[in-house]
């Protein structure tokens, strides 16, 4: 399979008006405006292969959405080249955007006051979707996303989860081969989240749709993405599989032990005591320095154990640690 996306040296900066608080500053700003140039993207390059699901992560303001907007033809970058399915998004915008689907989780593409189906029909006409294809896609999406009962409801009366399912359906009516999802699970409850995730997996597997999604929810990434791109302060910091990332930090374990009342803390060499109370202790250790069995046998020799839980470091903590490492 070939590369569907090829980004090379993309940079984009914005001019942001600035002043400090206060009346004096506000009056001054009437005459002299101060601007700050914010570099949203600095020399971003990556390739994405057809059929991949790529998770695009980074803290708020890192440049995730800006990258998505450059790739979907909305923004024009200052520098760099980008080729997606043979198009340069911002140069051949109208020809290109007909082949991609985009969901901006924080915005709505559906008409607020009319039933969902009216918005869908407008999209059918805008994308010039042949009637047979439209019917087939609509019935498939209706079934997969359980839209049956809500197609006739005005958008303003839908819940967030219902609306998001409709938004995703709306961006797939024209059978795009490439789907950009900018925070598709923002604000959704557990049930809706799972439904959206399952759906993304299904269309990727069954129709070979390449998916690029940004999210702050690491469980989204864990459930979906084979590959992670991490961006911070406009620079690409990590490009690789989730598995490798976990491997890098994966040797850390936390042991929580409950026991019958013991007054004196038990020190175990090779493990750090994080917390001690007469009934409970928490240790962290590195599996490359001490094996789990040793920790437990050392503990059981000193106290009367009731319960022991061992936890690997969660993906959220790994990401936080990664952000810290890069100072972002």
């Amino acid at each position: 399979m070939g590369n569907i996306i090829r980004l090379n040296g993309i940079s984009k900066s914005f001019k942001v008006a600035q002043r400090t608080a206060g009346l004096k500053q506000a009056v001054k700003a009437l005459f002299v405006r101060e601007h700050k140039i914010v570099e949203a993207l600095k020399d971003i390059s990556f390739d994405i292969e057809e059929g991949e699901i790529v998770g695009y992560i980074g803290p708020n303001g890192a440049g995730k959405s800006t990258t998505i907007k450059v790739m979907s033809g909305v923004l024009v970058p200052d520098e760099g080249t980008c080729s997606i399915m043979g198009f340069t998004p911002w140069k051949e915008r109208t020809g290109y955007v007909g082949r991609i689907g985009v969901v901006f989780g924080q915005r709505s593409q559906l008409w607020w006051d009319v039933p969902v189906i009216d918005s869908f029909e407008l999209l059918r006409d805008i994308y010039r979707i042949p009637p047979a294809e439209y019917r087939a896609n609509l019935s498939l999406l209706t079934e997969m996303l359980a839209l049956e009962d809500i197609l006739g409801t005005p958008v303003r009366q839908l819940s967030l989860g219902q609306r998001m399912r409709c938004e995703i359906a709306a961006s797939l009516l024209h059978s795009p081969k490439l789907l950009f999802l900018d925070e598709p699970t923002i604000g959704l409850d557990a049930v809706s989240k799972l439904a959206v995730r399952k759906f993304i997996k299904d269309i990727n597997r069954e129709r070979g749709v390449t998916v690029i999604l940004t999210t702050h929810d690491m469980s989204d990434i864990e459930a979906l993405a084979d590959r992670i791109l991490m961006i911070g302060k406009g620079t690409l910091l990590y490009d690789g599989s989730l598995h490798d990332l976990k491997g890098r930090f994966g040797a850390q374990r936390t042991v929580t032990a409950d026991f019958r009342e013991t007054r004196d803390p038990v020190e175990i060499s090779g493990a750090t005591l994080l917390q001690w109370s007469p009934l409970r202790a928490v240790y962290s250790f590195d599996m490359e320095q001490i094996v789990l069995a040793d920790v437990i046998s050392r503990l059981s020799a000193s106290v009367e154990l009731v319960d022991v839980t061992v936890e690997a470091k969660g993906i959220d903590e790994i990401i936080v640690q990664l952000y810290e490492e890069h100072g972002i």
């Binding site: 907007k69 033809g73 915008r93 955007v97 901006f104 915005r107 009319v114 006409d125 805008i126 010039r128």
Partner: protein, 267 residues
């Protein structure tokens, strides 16, 4: 269906939902029609010099203005488009395989037409049966009526082209109210929507003739009453076409520039 026709249709359907707004609009327009006519009638009764327009022509002019209010008023706006620009919803508009200018143009056109359709028929039914001097006149000939319809529709296209410039300016000003207020206050006066152009002083008439605004209001309404003779009306229609072409070309160029530097507001 063509994308632009489709957006027109959806916006039209959407506009037809607002029945209460239409009912309130009808009442308002009738009220203002009466007030304006009373004022003009008082002026005409106590004036000694010969007026350039008869009272009867002015009455017809006022009613046409009230009936086709949504065809001629610049303040008639689509807040959704303003919100798209200032709130960042523009991101979705740019992900569509459609040109933005005709897309918005169709939307604005539909909004005006749906509003006019809801309001004009009930008002029409009333104004033809009012007692004099309030009764609305009829065109002097069938030809004048046809020319009126043509010039009114062209005027509608011109006003939408002008209002497109207001929307596009918001890409720079980020203030819908500012852009709208500046253009609409000046524009409506120069269109003859406050005082009919023939009643203005000579020097001001000359200014209005040099600008596109009067072709949306003053021109079609005076064609209706026959105040502008038919051969002159034909020339006028040609000028309307030229203005329309010029405004659309300017609008598209500015739109292109705006989109090159577009910033999606709000992340």
């Amino acid at each position: 269906m063509n994308a632009y026709v489709s957006i027109w249709r959806l916006r039209f359907i959407n506009g037809m939902q607002y029945r209460a707004a239409a009912a309130a609009g009808i009442a308002t327009q009738l009220f203002f029609g009466f007030i304006f006519i009373m004022i003009f009638a008082a002026f005409y009764r106590f004036s000694d010099s010969a007026a350039p327009m008869s009272l009867h022509e002015v009455v017809t002019y006022v009613w046409l203005q009230q009936i086709f209010l949504s065809f001629i008023m610049l303040w008639f706006r689509d807040n959704e488009i303003f919100a798209l620009i200032t709130g960042g919803g523009i991101a979705y508009e740019l992900c569509r395989p459609a040109e933005l200018y005709p897309f918005w143009y169709s939307k604005l056109l539909a909004q005006r037409v749906s509003s006019a359709v809801l309001r004009c028929f009930p008002i029409l039914a009333v104004v033809f049966v009012l007692p004099e001097p309030y009764r609305m006149g009829i065109p002097p000939s069938f030809g004048a009526l046809l020319l009126f319809i043509a010039s009114l529709l062209l005027g509608l296209l011109v006003i939408v082209a002008i209002s497109m410039l207001i929307y596009i300016s918001v890409f720079w000003t980020m203030s819908p109210t500012g852009s709208l207020l500046m253009v609409s206050v000046a524009g409506e006066f120069l269109a003859g929507a406050v005082v009919p152009v023939p009643l203005m002083p000579e020097w001001m008439q000359r200014i209005t003739y040099a600008l596109p605004f009067r072709w949306t209001t003053d021109f079609p309404f005076r064609v209706y009453s026959g105040h502008i003779p038919q051969h002159e009306a034909l020339w006028g229609i040609l000028i309307q076409l030229l203005w329309l072409a010029a405004l659309i070309v300017i609008g598209r160029l500015l739109m292109k520039r705006a989109l090159r530097n577009v910033v999606v507001q709000g992340g």
